[in-house]
Symmetry: C2
Subunit: 278 residues, 2 copies
Amino acid sequence: MSNSAAPTIGVFDSGFGGLTVLRALIARLPRARYAFLGDTARLPYGSKSRRTIARYAAESARFLVDRQGAQFLVIACNTASALALDAIQDAVSVPVLGVIEPGAAAARAASRSGDVLVIATDATVQSHAYFAACRSKGLRALEKACPLLVPLVEEGWTSHPVTSEVIRIYLDELNGQAAADGLHPDTLVLGCTHYPLLRSLIQHAVPAGMRVIDSAESTAEAAFHLINGSASLSADANAVPSTEIHCFATDSVDKFERLGSRFLGHPVGAVELVDLGG
Amino acid sequence: MSNSAAPTIGVFDSGFGGLTVLRALIARLPRARYAFLGDTARLPYGSKSRRTIARYAAESARFLVDRQGAQFLVIACNTASALALDAIQDAVSVPVLGVIEPGAAAARAASRSGDVLVIATDATVQSHAYFAACRSKGLRALEKACPLLVPLVEEGWTSHPVTSEVIRIYLDELNGQAAADGLHPDTLVLGCTHYPLLRSLIQHAVPAGMRVIDSAESTAEAAFHLINGSASLSADANAVPSTEIHCFATDSVDKFERLGSRFLGHPVGAVELVDLGG
């Protein structure tokens, strides 16, 4: 693609939760063309082996780069970021940004005590990717799987008393564990792309003074700096008059179209079905 | 397989929820060899197209018949029963029993008013398979998707106040809809293999006098009668001294082994990983 063409940012998730990352990207980089792929035929990645996830993620990344012309890739999926970032970087020749590193970096910037909490899906917690990314920055991280939060968001109960109660139970368990471990956490990382939709309930439930880090926002911030640091991409960015969004899914576009707008904050439009095989 | 060998009953699910059906089968037919396959690499079936589900289910059925010697197949999966029973029957030469028909038959036997309620996953409700099976028996059925119940069971909250509250909310909505439609339901069908673990909470939440039908039990009952009606299978059944169970999964046996015992009611033992391709 020449510099005069609009820059295309590819955004990839196993489902449509990553639309919260796309939403944050658009807020930070409105003048770009976005191609979002949800690999809905093969979700959830969380229950699959690392080898399988790496193959699926690499195929998805190649679709965005080779077939949609993406010049920059955002892996808006915690599981793929945790288990397949290397495989994706090997599969394509454009810069690739995951969600975990920016989340950990934002926690590092926010925390004074050096102790942070991370809530995420079971698969992300089992990978301990946030723990490792935080440790490499000198932070002590305690992770907790909160498997009910994704279904509660998908049920649309984002401001429901049941959801408040579930969040309270999870955070009580997590804070109790932190106290038992002698930690003094002052920062909570939302390590799942669905959780930004629960941000106000979570903000309400955390102890006074605790900072809540939304890794979607942190990732958008990191993408902004990486793209502005790249001469060709930032030149392109100035050539695009407004936001353009193209959404793709590998199966069952109904749920994507039905729920996606809630994640993106405005209608996703028509979702195009693509076949990646497998 | 000769008549002197032990009869093998194949039980298939996309995950491990179907272990509640296996549990009911063992209670009714303890003297048999069971081969259970959870196609965990490719779950959930619910979000996939009918063609894809039919292919996966047929491959799984062939594994149980051709490689495990199953002489009778129970499809312990509502989605596969709803969307792929024909494809499975075409793929193998042994008798095949799904969970929907027995559930509807038990509702027919239980209901005096002729109006029944069905709770199930989103995919099962969207297929309207229970509605159709009930209508063919002269019943009016009102179906409701209860997408939070499976995650609540998998979180282990089977007697938790949050789960009681979620059940109350779902049943209030369902009973309100039934009243608005002019129905007088006296029977509730549990149309998901996870729901038997919530039976006591559900029993507590339904209006007085409402019968609760567990399709796992109804399916085991139907299997018992079909097998006793088959000379070769019932002869075999008398030749087996006790229950033998072999569990197989297509990916990630950890969760299967961890949660499976809760569904089966006793330890599942070692789960063997098998590769069906795709």
